[in-house]
């Protein structure tokens, strides 16, 4: 910002200040209450309903007066937007009962920045705000909220074996200046199960988690997680909970022999997965998706030492936010069935291109650190694994029997961790230089070792021509660059001194294009644009995209990168990135362990098994690597190690000081040994689907693959026996091979 501009700005401010002083603050403050009304009408009978649409599988009924919905599945059961007997629920208060009768619930921000929830029944339907319209194969319901001034159209369309429910975002209107719509929850009690129901809620936490319904020892707390993690472009001074990220925009409810699941097909980046259990506010168990229409950020005002909510100015109008509901019956009505349906939706009939399971290695090249040169401090790359070290590692592992390797080489590039956004393929001199780099690639190629070069297109450490940290970065809601912090480990506060920036997606496309163009010059297996698969974020400046469509943008970038080298490896990718990966490393193997969850399931792996080659996270960073091996067996995926060759002492007091157990010499033998131990079994099942997965106890699990192979694993510290099968503590048993 130059001085002239500043001066002009200051002048403008003086004027603006004058004007605000002259015009009195006219708009009066209004208070909003959600009325607690106990006289909600029952919706038990079908007689208030009208048939809106019907196809070979479904019949859609709508109660125009009440705004209720019933979906009859001709191959299964009847699904209602309002749970049965909700008026008799002893736990639910009047307000909750009305909420249960609402097809949508919204939250809005008032002039003070407080966010209030209201339900459609109270604030719209009862005030005559609902209009219903028949459309081809479905219905269009428009909820007008007369007091708050919102109009929200919801479209329900029947298809061959699913039902699409969309919020038509582009037609949402807000007419009152003071009320701003923030979120819309879609059919929050659709498929809700009562206190007698037997079943569970599936939530997409990490690898996936199950919330068993109505357990006497249940922990009564809501589940709520942002899909793909919280918006990266918001201010995060304090690191909140350490939780797994929702990588899949999906949820499900299983009730006896019936199950329903919802997949977000559009706008997943702006959704929150929610679930609530019997006892929290009513006796029902429900799960639903909530869409963020208008995001907001809490900004600290230092002078007043308080935080205020800053609202997103222009919410994106992506067309629609859409959830696709599938209904599963009988033997498919469980999380395995849900996972298969999800995998099918994601990848269709795709089969894995990888025949043999390799030993996955993430090798870290060089870090940018302060070194002493003749006593003088200089910032330069400290090599952790040079190009010739990589050769050494593969040789050593091969000699120990690990014959098939796949390497994800990170920070191999010029400047290591201190690199600017890549715009080509540039080896680092301190790692050996161009010649050594080529030697390494040749060597690996001759040995049949796959090497993927990691490119970080999202995180800007410093500017480069064309990629300026200030002007080309994604903006926060306050329209300044969205700063990305590292956090202190003891109080989880952000370290404000060295923020990083996020490159906006237009610029990422440019950078990725350049890298794709340069890829021919070197002979490596493929690109791994790991952070693109993991991070999706908005640019609130309005110049580029926001999270509602950023996933589509990333898909086209990843497609370009994959085309450049045919193959691609991605680490823990979100659902949108999965189809561009041949290998997926670091698949989530845990859930966040919320106490409301009963146990963790490998939903992610079940959905993708046989379609993509996968691995665990680096097991040498776990406290007990054997647990990682068991995780690999449970879901039939490969194992991964994280390696550096030397200079581990130099990582102290750098941002990479969490790399503490990666020294190759310490782990090489163990890695080869474990790989040799597992590879035959895993190769057998590599191309197969997981047809059954059973949690026998918290510690013992059984997985059956389509070829008939059965694998039992036991995470506990006691041996387990069942029907002649014994699984040792910390061990596994394979049968049917």
């Amino acid at each position: 910002m130059n001085m002239k501009r500043l001066y002009r700005l200051m002048l403008a401010v003086v004027f603006a200040a004058g004007i605000t002083l002259i015009i009195p603050n006219a708009a009066a403050q209004t208070q909003i209450y959600t009325t607690a009304n106990n006289q909600g009408e029952s919706a038990q009978a079908l007689d208030g309903y009208q048939l809106y649409a019907e196809n070979g599988r479904f019949m859609l009924y709508i109660n125009e007066e009440q705004g209720f919905l019933i979906l009859q599945d001709k191959e299964g059961t009847t699904w209602k937007s309002v749970p049965d007997n909700h008026m008799e629920d002893p736990l639910a208060q009047g307000g909750t009962r009305l909420a249960m009768e609402s097809l949508i619930q919204v939250k809005y921000s008032d002039r003070l920045g407080n966010v209030n929830p209201i339900n459609a029944k109270t604030a719209s339907v009862k005030k005559g705000g609902l209009t219903c319209k028949k459309i081809a194969n479905g219905a269009l319901l428009t909820f007008a909220f007369p007091r708050e001034g919102f109009s929200i159209p919801i479209e329900i369309v029947l298809a061959e074996d699913y039902v699409d429910v969309s919020i038509i975002a582009k037609d949402i209107t807000e007419s009152e200046e003071v009320y701003k719509l923030t979120t819309v929850s879609v059919m929050p009690y659709f498929g809700a199960a009562g206190s007698q129901a037997e079943g569970y809620i599936f939530v997409p936490d990490g690898s996936g988690a199950i919330i068993e319904m109505n357990r006497p020892d249940r922990f009564i707390e809501d589940y709520s997680q942002y899909v793909y993690g919280r918006e990266y472009s918001t201010t995060r001074i304090q690191h909140d909970v350490m939780a797994e990220t929702v990588r899949m925009p999906v949820f499900g409810i299983k009730n006896a022999d019936h199950a329903m699941m919802g997949i977000i097909t559009d706008g997943a980046g702006r959704a929150i997965a929610n679930a609530s259990v019997n006892g929290k506010r009513c006796s029902y168990n429900n799960a639903y998706m909530e869409f963020i229409y208008r995001d907001s950020d809490m900004v600290l005002i230092e002078k007043k030492a308080q935080t205020v909510r800053v609202l997103e100015q222009n919410p994106p109008k992506p067309g629609r936010y859409r959830i696709r509901y599938f209904f599963l019956e009988g033997k498919d009505a469980n999380y395995v069935g849900m996972a298969h349906r999800f995998g099918e939706w994601l990848l269709g009939e795709q089969k894995s291109s990888v025949s043999a399971v390799p030993l996955y290695m993430e090798i870290m090249g060089g870090i940018m650190a302060r070194e002493s040169f003749l006593g003088f401090p200089v910032n330069r790359v400290v090599p952790l694994s040079t190009y010739s070290d990589v050769q050494e590692m593969t040789k050593r592992l091969a000699s120990l029997g690990a014959d098939k390797l796949a390497i994800d080489y990170v920070y191999w590039n010029k400047d290591g961790t201190g690199a600017a956004i890549p715009n080509g393929i540039k080896p680092e001199g301190r790692l050996g230089g161009k010649k050594s780099f080529k030697n390494m690639l040749n060597f690996l190629k001759q040995n049949g070792t796959e090497i993927y070069l990691d490119f970080n297109f999202t995180d800007m450490v410093k500017s480069r021509w064309g990629f300026n940290t200030r002007f080309d970065s994604a903006s926060s809601i306050q329209r300044s660059p969205a700063l990305q912090y590292a956090y202190r480990i003891n109080d989880l506060k952000a370290i404000l001194t060295e923020p990083q920036f996020l490159l906006n997606f237009i610029k990422i496309k440019q950078a990725a294009g350049k890298v794709a163009d340069a890829a021919d010059k070197y002979d490596f297996t493929g690109v791994s644009a790991n952070t693109l698969g993991q991070k999706v974020y908005s640019d609130f400046s309005g110049k580029t995209v926001k999270r509602d469509t950023a996933d589509k943008e990333i898909q086209s970038i990843l497609r370009g990168l994959k085309d450049a080298k045919e193959k691609q490896l991605l680490s823990e990718p979100n659902a949108y990135a999965v189809e561009y990966a041949d290998h997926i490393t670091d698949t989530p193997i845990y859930s966040s362990g919320y106490m409301v969850e009963t146990y963790t399931v490998p939903f992610y792996q079940i959905a993708l098994h046989g379609r993509v080659a996968m691995s665990t996270p680096a097991i040498n960073t776990m406290s007990d690597p054997q647990q990682g091996v068991l995780k690999a067996f449970e879901s039939g995926i490969g194992i991964k190690y994280h390696f550096i060759m030397k200079n581990c002492n130099r990582l102290e007091s750098t941002p990479n000081n969490d790399i503490i157990s990666s020294l190759f010499d310490d782990w090489a033998e163990e890695a080869a040994e474990k790989y040799v131990e597992i590879k035959d079994v895993l190769n057998t099942v590599a191309a197969q689907q997981i047809v059954s997965h059973r949690v026998i106890t918290q510690d013992v699990r059984e997985t059956i693959f389509s070829g008939g192979v059965k694998i039992y694993v036991n995470y506990g510290n006691r041996d387990f026996s069942e029907r002649g099968i014994t699984v040792k503590a910390g061990g596994y048993t394979v049968s049917g091979i």
Binding site: L9, P481, S623, S661
Partner: protein, 686 residues
Amino acid sequence: MVKISTKKLITFLAATLIVGMLGSFSAGALTSEAPYYSYRYDHWGSSVPTAQTYLPERTVSGITIGAGALKSPTDIFSTPDNEIYVLDSGNNRVLVMDRDMKLLKELGPMESDGKPMSMMEPISIFVSNQHKKIVIADKKAGVLIFDLSLKLIDTLKSPNSNILPKDFFFAPVKAIMDSAGIYYVVSANCYQGALQYDERGVFLGFYGSEKITLTADTLADYFWKQILTDKQAANMKRTVPVEFVSFTVDKNNFIYTVRKGNDVTQGQVKKLNALGENVIPEKVFGDRGTETMLADIAVDADGFITVLDSRSGRLFQYDGESNLMFAFGGKGIQNGLTQNPVAVESLGDKLLLLDGQTGLITLFTPTDFAKNVRKAVLLCDDGKYRQAMEPWGAVLKQDNLYELANRGLGKAYEGMGDFKKAAKFYKVAFERELYSEAFSEYRGDILRHNFLVFMLGIILSVVAPVIIVILRRRNKKSVYDVKIGRFHYPVYCMLHPFIGYTDLKERKKDSVLAANVLLLAYFIVSIIERQLTGFAFNYNRTDKFNLMFSLLSTIGFFAAFTICNWSITTIQEGKGRLKEIWNYCSYALLPYIIGTVVVVIMSNVLTTNEASFISMARFIVYAWTAIGLIMAIKEVHMYSLGRTIWTTILTLAGMLVILLICALSYNILSQLLEFIGSIYAELKMM
């Protein structure tokens, strides 16, 4: 309005001014075996990640063990034979479980005649199988002493003793008993220590109270209290010894006390012997650089101390020497986290954590990593360093930088006579003393092997200057006859501080070029001193170096001095011009430049035992420099000695003023920039 807009400025300033940054983690690096990191504090006091140490094995509730939900439980206790007692205060009962967390019995309190009674506000429970007693501290009812079937035997009430202050109010929050049957009771808001009762309930006196030591603070307090009114004095922060929040007893009857930790930064935990004396080092307990609220302590059979911080929900485990081994845990609604942790208890090498809000008990199991650390620490305590090598090796495999392991391995190698390796490990562990010892051992080896070279070197460095001096003396002329080159003057002034500057002033032979070269050398040497001083003597963070800061503290300082001196002396009839002051003073730095290099070299070959040589060398260098500097100022202004000293003092005062002005204008400037930034941000939002 928005903080972000001035971030760049703050970033820049912080980067230039703040030396040393705390350890960090990047948000993406979590391997989520648990919803928390295990960490420790490194040598510099920064928190750094370590391998996972304790993981939640299981969480049990009253319902899972078949006793119905717990209601505001307040304490948990495990006996030496691993029976677990839970004080379920809200339900007026005590639950007893075995080591597998299976319910053994549910006890309801009874009066001595067998009628059920209700406790009023029970806070803590202690069970002595030896004495067949259950001791429950009830904040309102006093200390209730039950038999093992929870039938009341006795109640300890507020003692009638004249050593108690008038306003003493008995509110027991913790009561324990040692193997001799002596009761120790902590009462809320009691600053005298723990109350001691004998086995029949007779008050014995206070135990473990902290002595008030006479410090400047207490003196100042005393002074103010004389002046202020009673009411004002009451508002002052009291410097009384702080109340204990919890304590425990080990099998050898040592009492461990813990205080909240919001008032002291170290020594929060004490291990007291029968005389009430602390026998462990007063190191930092709990988190550093952030608010803590230590709430409970547990000591296991191996003597490891675990402390609970109820504010952060974290647990800290220490060895018998108060060294933090690791910290872990946190608050939240995930497995392994708690919402309102109230008590920690050890169960073998496992830990039990009680959540008073949810009534859940979490059982934490040590990972292999933690087990190895504990094993190795115990072996080292017994002096079995060789045997400790294996577990330490395993520890280093999972945390390459674990300081205690490096120290332990250093000890082992030292014991084996491999001093070079020992020194290497000590260096990683930042053990300067131990490093120095090991280094002195193999320095001897090096000396022996290269004796001839060393002797030659010493002879040359001593004899050569002597010869040069003798040779020069031989054809010595009168000072005034010597023709000294312009660039020879710095050396000449160094060697002849008393006549050199006079001569320089007379002949006006000073050179800006020479001065600037010297200043550059001064700057370089100061960096060399900071970065290359031998490990045993170097307390700087060589990995956190700030060029700007070095520049300011050397050349910046020098420039400020010169300018101040010039402005002071111009009104004090000084004859020196600014350029002259600059030149003369920089000439005076030459002994410092040369001397520092020598000191740096010495620091790399000497050990801490020989530190006095270095101090001596430093003293000589400083004295020499100071004399030169004073002579330079004296001669450049043609002052008397007294006046020189006076103006020097004024100069230093002037520098202080400059510093103040700089700080002030920096403050104003940054506020202005922040203001502009916030306006900019507001405009952008419009």
